[in-house]
Amino acid sequence: MSEVIAKDTTRRALGVAVTVAFVCALLVSAVAVGLRPLQKANVEAERIAQLELVLEALSGIGRTLSIEGLDARIVELGSGKYDHSIEVSTFDAQSAAGKPATSTAIPADLDFAGIKRRARHARVYLVRDTDERIELIILPVYGRGYQSTLRAWLVLDGDTRTVRALKFYQHGETPGVGARIEEPAWEAQWRELPAYDDEGVLRIGVRLHAGAGDYSEFKVDGISGATRTTQGVDGMMRFWLDEFGFAPYLQRIREEQADAG
């Protein structure tokens, strides 16, 4: 073969490297930006589909509902109050969590979920019974798993102390190992699970070792082979039901329920 071999000078190497990098960067950026609306629409359609999944999973224990039956609210996590100044339908929790102005750093000793910052607000969904009392509270929760961020809907009973369901809708865990958090058999463990003990202390978690251990009535079994993923789920639950998560909001709901008699 009589190939023209490029001369090997430093300048040439640098020149080619920079040019290739620049063209490639341009191409990737153009594609990423150009396709983003489609991707966002996909994610949004999926979010709604997942919400429908939650409703479907609940229909056995609760009521059959449509998405319109869900009362969407924006909650200010720190105070636990509803914030009506933010438009419910366009609120993007994920981008809010990434911006300094709309998020709060989590103290390292409270950051069980390994997420470092959380948005100041969250969109929650309420299901009310015929007397307008809160029947179910659906909270968005997420945390770091083994190799991805785990995102789930946490469904609490109107009593604010009992987990009725936990439904994962996004994660990138290893198929067949960590990804088993999505399996119905594992998710079924989160039905009717008390989260707080009688003193109101958060006890919920994932049992990571064999044997009963303390407070086993508050814990679900881990998945063998997926220790890091289930640790992630454990931390996620402990974070979001704690002071820095939804605890102030749940406290406020309890107060409102007490006022209403």
């Binding site: 990737v28 396709l35 198929p175 067949g176």
Partner: protein, 219 residues
């Protein structure tokens, strides 16, 4: 002597198959073949990346300095993979979620870099593109066979259409759980390699080491 274009395209199917002869790209072949649809999509993606990657690297081959060639190749391949990944997320969202990290891992698929470094750097654009497509198809052929076998025996379905009714739903078919686990892909690929090499003995490699015959004790 240069091969005809047709030969370049078809030789990697069996005679020079990247998976069964060169034993490259095994990792993703284990991961994405639990069902036929993911295997098909992965095949399509790899064919695209290989064809475009080999083609564009061949186009640039006389400009790429020898000292930085691998980095340049990897940059081009990575770009193509990211672009394809983005397109999948936009147009085949469900499947792209099931392929998850394995689309991104095409960057490290030895076949792609192997063809770029071993063929596209020394051959013309048309030949390189054909070589990329051919190798992609060779990879695809094995992936589709493995994917079809695993889905059929593991779930009793093909392309998510239930063919055999599993016992859990009152049928007579007992799904082979093993088929859905990565080792089964090893067994199937091993079987395919064994079959091909028994039909084409020229593919059998010389053993690198032979057992030494035990010398009888001298008296």
């Amino acid at each position: 002597m240069r091969d005809s274009n047709w030969r370049i395209l078809t030789r990697p199917l069996i005679d020079d198959n990247p998976l069964t002869l060169q034993i490259l790209g095994i990792c993703s072949a284990l991961a994405v073949t639990t069902s036929l649809d993911t295997a098909l999509l992965m095949s399509l993606v790899v064919v695209c990346v290989l064809a475009l990657g080999s083609g564009s690297i061949s186009l640039m081959r006389s400009y790429i300095p020898h000292s930085v060639r691998i980095i340049v190749q990897i940059t081009i391949i990575a770009t193509l993979v990211i672009v394809v990944d983005q397109v999948l997320q936009a147009y085949a969202f469900e499947l792209s979620k099931r392929l998850s990290v394995f689309v991104g891992l095409i960057i490290t698929n030895c076949i792609v870099l192997g063809r770029a470094e071993g063929y596209a750097m020394h051959n013309g654009v048309v030949a390189s593109t054909l070589d990329g497509i051919g190798n992609g198809l060779g990879y695809s052929l094995i992936l589709v066979i493995v994917g079809a076998l695993r889905e059929f025996f593991g779930k009793g379905s093909l392309l998510n259409v239930q063919i055999l009714t599993p016992t859990s739903q009152g049928g007579s078919f007992e799904p082979l759980q093993l088929m859905l686990l990565p080792p089964s892909a090893f067994f199937i690929i091993g079987g395919i390699i064994w079959y091909i090499r028994s039909k084409r003995p020229q593919q059998v490699e010389e053993p690198e080491f032979t057992l030494r015959r035990q010398q009888p004790e001298s008296k």
